[in-house]
């Protein structure tokens, strides 16, 4: 495709060539096992996998860098015609930025906060140029990522997350390296910003014929960007082939499961998480590492490691049963599960809500004239980009933020502004689960006592009764009872979020507010948490306010959707109607920006 149109490209000299790369911890455990791939000029390779799959380790190795404690066992890496491994570290350092550059996940951490943007870009230029610099070198570098020249005078903290990431991309491409490595460059950005960054990257690829390695846990983003896809699990390549092939006809059960876990705005359906947790380094089982979580496992999977075999000339897969599996349904057929809700009977009514934040003397409006209702058993999604005020609404409802106007009524009775001013019953019946799983549990308390607290405070149970209920609550969120004795640091992000849900359920609430609870989780874990919430909703007749920026998630969980733009509601309605025929321009732009497997070809 693209490669064919470039005369300089020949099959003999790909921009990136990695041959049987094997990385290990200094203590001996293998981290990356026998990874090989090639990327021609002007192509994007998507590397996808859950946390701990070794994808970032491979990405960093392309720059000749390994995290402390990781050593290269064998293999070769050639980037832009230069051998990377086995070279003098000083020489490799000179190649970085000039031949291969890196865009990390967290742009805030990648930019020196005490240097102006211009100085950061100049640093890279000075390190690699021998001739005197043009005066317009910096403005033109910024221009390539569509930032105005005056950004050079600003400091990183004066920029938004998306602008910071664009600056990082500008510094990464300013010396015109033929290869760029991007490690989750848009994770943590909202859909609209993500959309702009992805467009930017595609344009740079077209204009400069760069080869890119794009690492992400989100197959929908990969689908939009990549020409070829490499699926990794437990340090090994499980599937490797052209993007459309891998996504439309996944051969490996793991790829199929990843596809099934991705919420899709355009094809709403019940999500299915991958059971179990991703294996860590040193825990790899004998045989196929994915076998314990695989739906198609047979006995032989546990005994021997399958070889990477070619399913088609350019599509390889590491599975004994790929021929049987490939025939199976690509995406589980299940459509969105409907849960009966009586929208007529209102549980929560918000009328003309106003809220603001104080910044010094100035007051900044966060929420302006917002009215909506949540019926019993209903799931209402609140959507908008970061800073649109959606979290503030959730905080007003639970009594953590004092509204400056309007009324919130619960079960026809107005709620006091502060949680402490509300009667016990109201506090018990409204519960919230927060966004950040790493901060939602007290690191100094065992899981058991975290869950006991609402039982004792809100349901006035005795210590012994509370302790007895903990096991059942953990079971509800599908965690073993033994977790009660652990500390949060011993749990994964997804497990912590389940505990946070269990803590909320302990109060036996009628209304559960979920504030971006899956936004920091891997897609496979997100699917499992959403699956759990759907089951809980059905079993416990919970009403939910689901705050998110991910329209795909909205499509699979919510009945009604409220779209927020800069503090006001700009569109409300039933999910099916809003998502299929949005009337508001902002909703339309959100929809267009949402990465989707089905629309991948169109959006690209």
């Amino acid at each position: 495709m693209n490669a064919a149109s470039v005369p300089t490209t020949s099959a003999a000299s790909p921009a990136i060539s990695v041959q049987s790369l094997c990385l290990a911890l200094a203590t001996g455990e293998t981290v990356v096992d026998d990874v090989s791939f090639e990327v021609p000029r002007g192509e994007i390779l998507g590397v996808v996998g859950e946390s701990g799959s070794g994808k970032s380790t491979v990405a960093l190795a392309l720059l000749g860098y390994t995290k402390p404690g990781i050593v290269v066992r064998h293999g070769s890496i050639d980037v832009g015609g230069e051998r990377i491994l086995g070279r003098d570290p000083r020489e490799v350092r000179r190649l970085r930025g000039k031949v291969v550059s890196y865009v990390p996940q967290d742009p805030g951490g990648a930019l020196n906060p005490s240097l102006r943007i211009g100085a950061t870009i100049l640093d890279v230029l000075r390190a690699h140029r021998t001739s005197p610099l043009d005066d317009d070198a910096v403005p033109s570098a910024l221009g390539r990522v569509e930032l105005d020249g005056h950004f050079a005078q600003r400091y990183p903290h004066q920029l938004s997350g998306g602008q910071q990431q664009r600056v990082v991309i500008a510094t990464a491409t300013v010396c015109g390296p033929p290869v760029a490595v991007l490690d989750e460059p848009t994770t943590g950005l909202d859909v609209l910003t993500q959309d702009r960054i992805l467009r930017e990257l595609k344009r740079l690829r077209e204009e400069e014929q760069m080869a890119m390695v794009f690492v992400s846990h989100d197959l929908a983003v990969i689908a939009r960007m990549a020409d070829r896809v490499l699926v990794m699990y437990a340090g090994r390549v499980l599937e490797h082939g052209p993007a459309e092939e891998v996504i439309d006809h996944p051969r490996h059960p793991y790829t199929q499961a990843l596809v099934a876990a991705i919420p899709d705005v355009h094809a709403p359906r019940t999500l299915r998480g991958i059971p179990g947790v991703s294996v860590g380094v040193g825990e790899w089982p004998e045989g196929c590492a994915f076998a314990p979580r695989c739906r198609h496992q047979v006995e032989s999977c546990h005994r021997a490691l399958p070889e990477l075999v070619f399913a088609r000339p350019d599509h390889s897969v590491r599975c004994f049963r790929w021929e049987d599996v490939a025939g199976a349904e690509r995406v589980p057929a299940g459509t969105r599960s409907e849960i009966e809700a009586s929208a007529s009977d209102d549980l929560l009514t918000v009328t003309h809500l106003e809220a603001c934040y104080r910044r010094g003397r100035a007051e900044q409006t966060a929420v302006h004239d917002v009215s909506f209702t949540i019926g019993r058993g209903q799931c209402v999604a609140l959507v908008g980009e970061s800073g649109s005020g959606k979290s503030t609404i959730g905080r007003c409802i639970v009594g953590l933020h004092h509204p400056s106007g309007g009324v919130i009524a619960f079960d026809s009775r107005p709620l006091a502004a502060a949680a402490r001013a509300r009667p016990l019953e109201q506090r018990r019946r409204i519960q919230i689960v927060f966004q950040n799983p790493y901060q939602s549990l007290n690191p100094r308390q065992r899981i058991g006592s975290a869950i006991e607290r609402p039982l004792r405070v809100l349901r006035r149970l005795s210590h012994d009764d509370a302790e007895r209920e903990v096991g059942g609550l953990l079971e509800r969120v599908r965690l073993p009872a033994g977790v009660a004795k652990r500390f949060p640091s011993e749990l994964s992000g997804g497990e912590r979020q389940r505990v946070a849900v269990a803590r909320a359920l302990a109060a036996q609430p009628d209304l559960l507010i979920c504030d971006e609870i899956t936004s920091s989780l891997d897609v496979s874990v997100q699917a499992a948490v959403l699956e759990l919430l759907q089951d809980l909703r059905r079993d416990l007749h919970l009403s939910m306010l689901f705050i998110t920026h991910n329209l795909g998630v909205v499509a699979s969980v919510a009945d009604t959707v409220l779209v927020m733009e800069r503090g006001s509601l700009c569109e409300t309605g039933a999910v099916d109607e809003v998502l299929s025929a949005p009337t508001n321009a902002y909703t339309r732009s959100l929809l267009q920006a949402a990465p989707s497997l089905t629309e991948a070809a169109v959006a690209g």
Binding site: Q105, D106, G108, G109, G161, T187, G188, L189, D190, S386, V398, G399, L400, A419, R420, R422, L424, R427, Q431, I432, F434, Q435, N436, Y438, Q439, S440, L441, N442, P443, R444, Q445, A450, R453, P454, V457, L458, F487, P488, S489, G493, A500, R503, A507, E516, S519, S520, H549
Partner: protein, 283 residues
């Protein structure tokens, strides 16, 4: 792994506790082993080390070793009491200021700033002049000097922790502020607050010694390492042991306290949020 005592497994924790134990043994068992009374004149002033007086005699001819063995208790007791009281005051002020989002915060913190503006020694001298000399005045005075610095650190740490989900969950449950602070906030700010406990402990010894030097602290003839240093200071060339021995004891005590404090703070910090996980969640 073994809960609260896991800091002992680290080298600095083990060494720190070892040193502390030795110093505490000297201070509290020492008096029973002393060859002479700490106040008795046993020979010529400032004579060198001999079999009769292993560390020589001080400027009045008293046995340096005996005074050293007797002199730990009051130094450690005073400094410990003063540091503990300082943390109690500082933590209370810092927690209230950091947690309240009202005018209470600026009022408390400006008061603290005014306290910080006083030269510590001058403050203590004025206090002693006004209320008379006693151990209680010393302890309270030193605590008041140390508290403002502690309260500033506690306030900042509290503000950082107060916005976390587990604190907000407790607020949303309607728990009372003291319960929220003690259960959810305090355990999670101990690591940054305890790192310089050793430093503050040392500083309180220093203040006690300085006040003594000006003749307003603990009165001779009572034995005290700090008093020993200040009273023999000018005669260091005649019997250097009379100054170096108590100084070395204070130094060893300080090192022990600092190593232990570091190890505890680090073991508390280990279960903190790894910083690498913060990037994912900015959306």
């Amino acid at each position: 792994m073994t809960g609260r005592l896991r800091f002992l497994r680290t080298p600095s924790g083990a060494i720190g506790i070892g040193i502390l134990t030795c110093v505490l043994l000297v201070a509290f068992v020492g008096p029973y082993l002393a060859p002479h009374s700490p106040t008795a004149v046993i020979g010529a002033p400032l004579s060198g080390a001999s079999g009769h007086a292993p560390l020589g005699t001080d400027f009045l001819g008293r046995d340096v070793l005996s005074r050293l063995l007797y002199g730990g208790r009051s130094v450690i007791g005073l400094a410990l009491a003063a540091t503990a009281l300082a943390y109690l005051i500082g933590m209370t002020i810092g927690l209230i200021a950091g947690y309240s989002r009202s005018v209470v915060d600026p009022i408390l913190m400006r008061t603290v700033d005014v306290m910080l503006a006083f030269p510590p020694l001058l403050f203590l001298l004025v206090l002693i002049a006004g209320t008379g000399q006693s151990r209680t005045v010393m302890v309270v005075g030193v605590a008041i000097i140390l508290a403002p610095g502690i309260s500033r650190i506690v306030r900042t740490a509290t503000q950082e922790v107060a916005v976390r989900g587990y604190v907000e969950a407790a607020v949303a449950r309607g728990e009372r502020p003291p319960a929220v602070l003690l259960r959810e906030v305090v355990p999670n700010i101990l690591a940054p607050v305890l790192v310089d406990v050793g430093l503050r402990f040392t500083f309180s010894i220093l203040i006690v010694a300085s006040v003594n030097f000006l003749g307003l602290g603990l009165q001779p003839p009572s034995s005290n390492w700090a008093v020993m240093i200040s009273e023999n200071r000018q005669y260091i060339s005649l019997n250097w042991l009379s100054v170096v021995a108590p100084a070395a004891m204070i130094a060893i005590l300080t090192i022990g306290v600092n190593l232990t404090g570091d190890a505890i703070a680090r073991s508390l910090g280990r279960s903190y949020t790894p910083s690498t996980t913060r990037g994912v969640v900015t959306a």
